[in-house]
Symmetry: C2
Subunit: 402 residues, 2 copies
Amino acid sequence: MKIIDGGVCAAKGFKAGAIRCGIRKSQTKKDLAMILSDCECSAAAVYTTNRVKAAPILLTMDNLSNGKARAVIVNSGNANACAPFGIENARREAMAAARALHVAMEDVVVASTGVIGQTLSVECIEEHAGSMEMKYGNSMAAAEAIMTTDTKVKTIAVEFEADGKTCHIGGICKGSGMIHPNMGTMLSFITTDCAISSEMLDKALKADVKKTFNRVTVDGDTSTNDMCCILANGMAGNLPVEQEGPDYDAFCAALHMVTEDLARKIAADGEGASKLMTCTVSGALDEDTAEQLCKSICSSSLVKAAIFGSDANWGRVLCAMGYSGAAFNTEEVTVEFASKAGTVTVCEKGRGLDFNEELAKEILDQEEVEINVTLQEGSGNVTCWGCDLTYDYVKINGDYRT
Amino acid sequence: MKIIDGGVCAAKGFKAGAIRCGIRKSQTKKDLAMILSDCECSAAAVYTTNRVKAAPILLTMDNLSNGKARAVIVNSGNANACAPFGIENARREAMAAARALHVAMEDVVVASTGVIGQTLSVECIEEHAGSMEMKYGNSMAAAEAIMTTDTKVKTIAVEFEADGKTCHIGGICKGSGMIHPNMGTMLSFITTDCAISSEMLDKALKADVKKTFNRVTVDGDTSTNDMCCILANGMAGNLPVEQEGPDYDAFCAALHMVTEDLARKIAADGEGASKLMTCTVSGALDEDTAEQLCKSICSSSLVKAAIFGSDANWGRVLCAMGYSGAAFNTEEVTVEFASKAGTVTVCEKGRGLDFNEELAKEILDQEEVEINVTLQEGSGNVTCWGCDLTYDYVKINGDYRT
């Protein structure tokens, strides 16, 4: 398995395109993207768990119910959630893609991201979708078009083998605010030329997202529009993966490499973030317990603010574990902070240690910092990703709409 | 019932004192307070639900197990949580108060607030407690000494009647960060001269805290040290309240007036807060549902940042309701923003309305703003209090320890 270029166009037979159609006020930022497979794909998706689901989510759930799709259309600038004419406009958006790409409307995945509650200017989409140029190797344009408050393009692809054939899998995603582990928490589109049945694709995606995208938190807000969708067109020519076995395992490993990379990129680019925070809880009673503890630490505003200030305030880590609702022995907690500048243990057996404050500050001053918590109760090990809480988070979100 | 001065010394027979004993580095800020009743009191308390409980919490739970107490000692500057010699030092702090005030160690309530994980300098307390001057009418000094990042003293007292006798109840509290509804979420000390049994006092306090202190959120972090404690010395001379009835109701009403006022003051003085945010959910299926929705809105970083920016971004309100886990019909949600500058309805039946953005901005520019959500499903009505998320929250918490 190796990392390659190409993002969502790394797999054979996938084209992408992007355009500025006018949903956003910006005169330069692209706001509409499409992805197209040369042939029909097995397709699977995971959606937001928010009770308030945007119209495009509802339409896509319906379109993917047969496990098949061929194209994706995504707009940024408007979420089409709680908006007048929501379903009607999501359908018109799908129709616009279907007409432009000569595919069936039922084979289109629709996704939207942006402000909630305002009517989507679907006319712009209808007017411009037809003139979008779809090209192989054009992933970057699509990755840029789906960004909102993201500051960095998020893309990755890998090459792997299944059934002796070289396969490719790649993805793009966006996500910066309203990020919290509970599905998707962002938009992510993944394509692969590996031949795999809808059922196995669905199984692989659901299992994987639990350990990757659902372990990212930026601000504890689970959006109305989150979706992670994967299309597999089979053009690698491998014997289709239809059951568990070495090929399925190879596929899952490649998928995991893609999704974990994208998840980390989302956390690192969290709104206003200056640091990627990776938190690992080891030795918890079981995986669920470890996850509950890990997410609570990553979500704590106080922990996040301490990381921003490079303050080794481990008491907040214990405090966040304490209110997580998870069971653990408070007398058996070890906490260390680590980064490329070194490692410092600050708490052992639930009690503070005398530690080198200067070293701790230097460790936390790096762009990627780790909080490692060790318990003595079992084999539950989980890693979650988050970011620090900064002035810029407040700035970005104090005036997002206007 | 009327509001009076005097805080924790408004009730007959209660003295208070405060001193700077040296726990904090500050050369001026007082860091130790005591409260003393002239005679033994019925006593009750509610504690943090955090699994990590500070040593003074554990000691106080033990001391109050007989429903009796006479004195309170509180230090700021150090939480004595996850700290070496925790229980031993909490006990020494109680002993210092017992010696200074000539009461039994088992009749002392001990509370601490401040940094987690560092050894409490209990020697300072032992050295200075004896020289603290305890005076009637000295509530303000105690209220100041228990403050940490609080910017305002929080105190209230009311006069009421029970059994034809004039009774008084008053309180002080501190709380600014690590504030989230799950008990206490702060330190609060309430005194009354009303005669009431420990059992009824406990019942009244537990019921009341659910609707007041537990409905305040600042940052979603439930502290290790939270406590709300009440002492009733019976010096008003009323026939002791030992069962439900008019006197109990009068007591509960007065208690509620005190605690709701203190709860609002905590929210308004949330770390870095520039605005008090009052959120009311009406017409939910039942009270639990209303509370779940209301707390989710008040806790959302995105809602809080929007309020800071005076941005009528009601989509975030719906989004927070959606991920709260509570059941509600998304097609029946009405949202309005209100303040002394007026009222604007921004969402009806789950869909955005065209509204006057300028008016909305003016409404949200006030120091006290309301988010009112109306559903059509039942009679669950709940109000919660919170505050906006500001640059100053990040500043305060990015470098609290150092």
